[in-house]
Amino acid sequence: MPRTGVFICHCGTNIAGTVDIARAIDASRNFPGVVHADEYRYLCSEMGQDLIKNAINENNLDRVVVGTCSPRMHEGTFRKAAAEAGLNPYMLEVANIREHCSWVHRDIEEGTPKAIALLRAAAAKVALNDPLDSPELEVEKRALVIGGGIAGIQAAIDIAEAGYVVDVVEREPSIGGRMAQLEKTFPTLDCSACILTPKMVEAAQHPNINLITYSEVEEVKGFVGQFDVKIKMKARSIDPVKCTGCGVCYEKCPAKAPSEFEMGMTKRKAIYVPFPQAVPNVPVIDRENCLYFKKGRCQICAKECPPQAVDYEQQDQIIERRYGAIIVATGFDQLDPSSYGEYGYGQHPDILTALEFERLFNASGPTGGKVVRLSDGKPPKKVVFIQCIGSRDKARGMNYCSKICCMFTAKQAILLKEKVPDAKSYVFYIDVRTAGKGYEEFQRRAAEEYDVAYLRGQVGKIFPEGDHLVVHGVDSLSGKVVDIKADMVVLAAASIARADAPEVGRIVGINSDSYHFFNEAHPKLKPVETHTAGVFIAGACQAPKDIPDTVAQAGAAAVKAIGLLSKDVLKGEACTAIVNQAECSGCLYCEAVCPYNAINHIEIEERYHEEMHKRTVAEVNPSLCQGCGSCSVACRSGSINLKGFTNEQILAEVDAICLQR
């Protein structure tokens, strides 16, 4: 039989004004299992807590009900007090007789019976309470950052500065990501490389940062504090210790392939660094295009390499490491506009995507920094920019706004004017969106100082006519159809999730929205957390965003990771789900509804007809379970229950509230 003590707080007159405390105490004495009842003016005060502690000891109480303010207010206080008196803190229940009773009901006659009902329900529940423990788990003090773009670099530097070791896994041979491809950044027109390269170097030289480039994460197991990760290091064919980065190898290499970094607009060698400022400055051999790997002959690079760093025998390697926290910063792709037949992308060399056009400004780009037409090498005098290619397009593209195009278009139009002073830009737009510090001013400068003509409307057709491209569009504000004889067309193609984002999400265990951007745990309050504890997201893998937002988010993700790593052990949720495996039939509906991947299945052995049989049942990982209880409802036989809110407890509360009015 339980030995329950009931303690009712007056809260000055806050409760006592509307609840007849004496009547409530009398009623409480008659609840099943209640052996002691007392009252106090302010139960949350030190004296009040002492009253509870003493009563626990004097009356040998094994569970406690407090009739006080909301459990959201002082449940923690009273649990601590109970624990100090030697009880398990979860052997206490709160009857909310202030916010849910005395404050919302008018008088003693209304408030008293309701308070008694709430106290009776709490007493009925506490009679079924079991001692609970929060699971404890050790934290591996090392972080993994997936993706070496500006988001990953920033997050890694922040974590490293806080004193924790961090590994950055980058798929490409160099870190830098999309930002490395940019010439200038809006709205300040900073040179992108000038602000990014120092960060790349800092990341490379930081004693707490390990760059693992040309590598991919293959498997993530475990959970917050203890993720066990397999990383595949693709064979680079170069010994990075010996390599000095002199570049002789790629100067001499005879085999060529389209350069990924230059969006295929120019060629690189089969042995290459993607761009001059690459970090690490160690080439890779692209084995698909290397003559030696293809035909078994050549080996010029090996012969020419002064420190003899080329190693054709190198194999892919698997690194297995444990991490406490993971930051996913895998970035974005640009939509391929060739499916939009009306723009003729891919059919004419002077119809470019914005990212391709960006490369024309870069001194190491395909044109050596000269803004010229790829068709005839002449500088373009009329350039038409078209916005929302595949953005805001629910019929053929993405329903969302890509957020950055209005700004990078203004930037490119300004840069164009600076490189080709007699050039004229036209921008076809639907709406100009410039929310951001200094953004509106920047876009207005493009229109007012750089003579960029903004046409509100869209383009229906582009076709070549002689040397030109005729852009047939409409200016909806004047209501006129316009034909512009352009020299070049730049398409602001939508920013989209990486093609392999679903795969990355599956490996890491985070979910995505319908566009395959990773989902944050809460759209407002948990913008960098995910539903998997210990995994955070940063940058454009979450949604299209510009560099300032990306860097801010990376910092936020880093802080969350640092907060996690700074703990030696993690205290998990005590009220977690638990499976009665003898009853579980193994249908795993619980697994299907769990938002935290906290439910797995295991095989157990059972004796049946003198033989051992294997059977699948569900199992909860209490470190991952957050205690929502959705699984317990998906289970028809009640074989999975939620500690602290068990089926028995809730039914007992229902009974207690209903039985007597």
Binding site: E583, A592, H609, A634, S637
Partner: protein
């Protein structure tokens, strides 16, 4: 005696005999004649001798897939004869992880619909001696003479609005497929009940459920009732009161039906098994109808890879509450 589909039976017999003797299966779940000529009960055939009792006629209504739950504990590999509904039951069990696909060989039998003995006698208006079937016509023979009735008129309730007479999953299809059917009257009774005022509807169910003996035959026959311990028998917590009274009868039947929400394949075995003829299928069909209306067309058991609607959601799902 009822007419046996001799030609079809021979085909079935030959196919399963080969597998049973050849060791591809250790047990065949089929049907054999029961005590009366109008009963066909499950057959558990381990050998050639057992197989001689195999039957296939218009009374093979019993859903055999459900028996896998027990038999798989004793036999490594089991062959099952499956009609359309039995095959969808099998998918139900498969999706609920109750059976291992590789341990079961399914012999598909496109089904003409099974006959309802009570309906036969009621139509004959005398004690039946035998029936004969030809081309969709049934000849009822009784002391009162012969009576000829269209076969469609004599089907079991569960077969009348069957949409999938053909097995949807099988290893071997033994008979010619019959194709999908329309079931325009499937929700007729549900709609009729929906149109009643609430109190009248309650009185209707009060009357129907008052007959319930709580024998749980509906549960035993049901392919979605596969829990190791049903809520009605649990003590901790005691969901279901033991008392034999209206309140508890309602609780049982509402929860039984609710546990099939998005999972019930509408095979009607619950209702067929009910000894007091409670129209249980209407409760199940109500849930199917609503889920289809609210969350899109879904037929449980058609495809074991499609998640049951109550295990998933869409962010913009509609709701049935007075506030949307």
């Amino acid at each position: 005696m009822a007419e046996r589909y001799l030609e079809e039976l021979t085909k079935i017999h030959d196919a399963v005999k080969q597998d049973l003797l050849g060791g591809r299966i250790n047990l065949l779940l089929g049907w054999e004649k029961g005590h009366y000529w109008w009963q066909s009960r499950p057959l558990f055939a381990e050998n050639e001798q057992d197989l001689e009792r195999l039957t296939w006629d218009s009374f093979c209504a019993v859903n055999l897939s459900r028996y896998l739950l027990e038999e798989l504990k004793d036999y490594q590999k089991i062959g099952v004869l499956v009609k359309g509904c039995d095959s969808r039951s099998f998918n139900r069990l498969l999706q609920d992880n109750m059976v291992a696909r590789q341990r079961v060989v399914l012999y598909g039998l496109p089904c003409p619909g099974m006959l309802d003995y009570e309906l036969l006698t009621a139509t004959a208006e005398a004690e039946l001696e035998s029936i004969a079937e030809q081309n969709g016509i049934v000849v009822l023979r009784s002391a009162a003479g012969e009576k000829t009735v269209e076969r469609e008129q004599l089907l079991l309730y569960k077969c009348r609005d069957c949409r999938y007479p053909d097995p949807v999953v099988y290893d071997q299809l033994l008979l010619a497929p019959r194709g999908e059917k329309e079931a325009p009257e499937r929700y007729k009774s549900v709609t009729k009940l929906e149109e009643m005022p609430a109190d009248e509807r309650y009185t209707h169910w009060e009357k129907e459920l008052s007959r319930c003996l709580r024998c749980y035959a509906c549960r035993q026959a049901c392919p979605y009732c596969s829990c190791r311990e049903c809520f009605v028998e649990q003590d901790k917590p005691r969901w279901q009161g033991r008392a034999y009274q209206e309140s508890e009868n309602f609780l049982f039947h509402l929860v039984r039906a609710y546990h099939g929400a998005g999972r019930c394949i509408d095979c009607g075995e619950c209702q067929r098994a009910c000894p007091v003829n409670i129209p249980l299928q209407e409760l199940n069909r109500k849930l199917i109808k609503d889920i289809n209306e609210l969350y899109g067309q879904f037929e449980a058991g058609l495809n074991a890879d499609l998640e049951p609607p109550l295990l998933t959601y869409k962010p913009d799902d509609p709701a049935a509450f007075s506030e949307k």
